[in-house]
């Protein structure tokens, strides 16, 4: 009999069933020790990359020409959401979407040339095959115009010097898409390999997402051959394009996970008795559950609309306001759901089931992921003001 999702969530049953049928066993394998790894701060096991690739998960949304299945943004978003629903480890949707994101970035960088660029030629196939893991090394605890990592040209290539303060996935990754300033101050996108001379990793504390394997990365005059340059000019545009796409997929897994959290919360409340009756029969608790459900339905609607926009090709590739608003909104809703779960469950959420604490930490982490919420608010406000032509005096609608 075909698996069907909980009636609480309707509208995309086919994709939910596809994720369950095709990747359910893989996700169950990850779930088996998810709690222990999280508490220990251990990253996903190494076998995951190959298993996800062999199962066609990593390549699901990649173009057929790159060894993928060619699924569009809408289907990919739904798949990531359902993975979040079924899998207790946020590192899974994060990792597979990061692989797809880096491959897409490598392929897009050479769209202007007839042949695939050297970085695409060298790195796409191993990433798609799961024999090589990729990560983004961007953050420097600075604004995009104040990054200090430098790429200096030499007689036989380049030398990279600098420091990245937080690189998710660095504990396992083999290749890193990173950004640096060149001799002229322009930003360059390039690939660094884990074993390159002068690459040093360090520990970094993380509020949540402890299985993502975050590390600091320092480059000590690391030699970089010219063939590793992904884009030699306007790397800032390249990075913003990457982050804009990232904003959309980063919200999917947590949304699925928040849905699962609500269900788990309801099951617990149905078996917890206070004053002679189950907690879930108390109107104040039912009201809280209703608000959580509304939050998640609204988040789904917002996210799916943003994916529809991406699917139709109407989204702005560098900064799309609808995508940005969706990321912001989903993050606030999943944080609300985790907070409400703690309130209605009481002590059980704090010492009876570690999933709620993990969700609180991981969802809070999302406040700063792929563009901090406060920054996104300012950008959306600025964009809105401009769109209403306030500066040039367009009149408000009656």
């Amino acid at each position: 009999m075909r698996w069907v999702p909980t009636p609480l969530w309707t509208g995309h049953d086919d994709l939910a069933a596809l994720v369950h049928d095709r990747w359910g066993a893989l996700l169950a394998r990850v779930n088996a020790d998810a709690s222990e790894r999280y508490e220990a701060g251990e990253p996903l096991p190494r076998w995951f990359a190959k298993a996800a690739a062999d199962a066609g998960l990593t390549s699901f949304a990649l173009p057929r020409g790159a060894g993928g299945e060619g699924a569009g943004p809408r289907a990919w978003g739904r798949v990531l959401e359902e993975i979040g629903y079924l899998c207790e480890d946020d590192a899974v949707p994060y990792t597979v979407s990061m692989q797809a994101g880096v491959v897409t970035a490598l392929l897009e960088a050479d769209r202007s040339t007839a042949d695939r660029s050297e970085p695409a030629r060298q790195y796409v196939c191993p990433i798609v095959a799961g024999t090589s893991l990729a990560a983004l090394a961007y953050s420097e605890d600075a604004d995009p115009f104040a990054l200090v990592t430098q790429l200096r040209s030499t007689r036989d290539g380049y030398r990279l010097t600098g420091h990245k303060t937080h690189v998710s996935g660095a504990a396992l990754a083999d290749v890193f898409l990173t950004y640096a300033r060149d001799d002229n101050g322009d930003m360059v996108a390039l690939i660094v390999e884990r074993d390159d001379p002068g690459v040093e990793f360090g520990p970094t504390a993380s509020l949540g997402h402890r299985t993502n394997g975050p590390r600091t990365m320092t480059f000590h005059h690391t030699p970089v051959p010219a063939a590793r340059i992904v884009t030699a000019t306007d790397g800032l545009g390249h990075a913003q394009r990457f982050l804009n796409a990232r904003r959309l997929v980063a919200a999917c897994g947590p949304l699925g996970r928040a849905r699962a959290l609500l269900e788990r919360c309801i099951h617990r409340l149905a078996t917890t008795t206070r004053y002679g009756r189950p907690l879930c029969e108390m109107p104040n608790v039912q009201g809280a559950l209703g608000r959580m459900y509304i939050a998640l339905q609204a988040a789904q609607a917002m996210l799916h609309r943003a994916f529809d926009r991406a699917e139709s090709g109407r989204s702005d590739p560098l900064f799309d306001p609808v995508i940005t608003a969706a990321k912001h909104f989903v993050v606030e809703q999943v944080r609300y759901v985790a907070d409400q779960a703690v309130r209605v469950l009481g002590g059980h959420s704090c010492y009876g089931d570690p999933r709620y604490g993990r969700a609180l930490r991981d969802f809070t982490d999302l406040v700063v992921a792929a563009g901090a919420q406060d920054t996104l608010e300012v950008l959306l406000g600025t964009t809105s003001v401009s769109a209403c032509h306030t500066v040039t005096g367009r009149e408000a609608p009656s």
């Binding site: 961007y138 953050s139 420097e140 605890d141 600075a142 604004d143 995009p144 115009f145 104040a146 990054l147 060149d182 002229n184 101050g185 322009d186 030699a232 000019t233 306007d234 800032l236 545009g237 990075a239 913003q240 394009r241 982050l243 560098l318 900064f319 792929a370 563009g371 901090a372 920054t375 996104l376 300012v378 950008l379 600025t382 964009t383 003001v385 401009s386 032509h389 500066v391 040039t392 367009r394």
Partner: protein
């Protein structure tokens, strides 16, 4: 014409939100601003001298889809440079 900077770009023009510039093209206007605020050039342009893709040009309230230096301007025009960057 008037050149309007918002958000993160303001610090590169000494927090002058609006510069009034005698210019007939976008290139002339940007060059004028870059002359007075040398840091601005590196922020606005890439290695090839093109305006970075992260900067949107809005002319009299209308987004210019592919702005270049030849964009013609008239007296009284308002050009906004909107920069939407996040992460870092």
């Amino acid at each position: 014409m008037m050149l309007h900077f918002s958000g993160t770009l303001q610090r590169f023009v000494g927090f002058d939100r609006v510069l009034t510039i005698p210019a007939g093209t976008l290139g002339e206007a940007l060059h004028w601003a870059e002359e007075r605020h040398p840091q601005l050039r590196q922020v606005l342009r890439d290695n090839t001298g093109r305006l970075r893709r992260t900067h949107r040009v809005v002319l009299n309230g209308e987004l210019v889809s592919a702005p270049d230096d030849e964009l013609a301007l008239q007296e009284g025009d308002m050009v906004e440079i909107l920069t939407a960057v996040a992460g870092g």
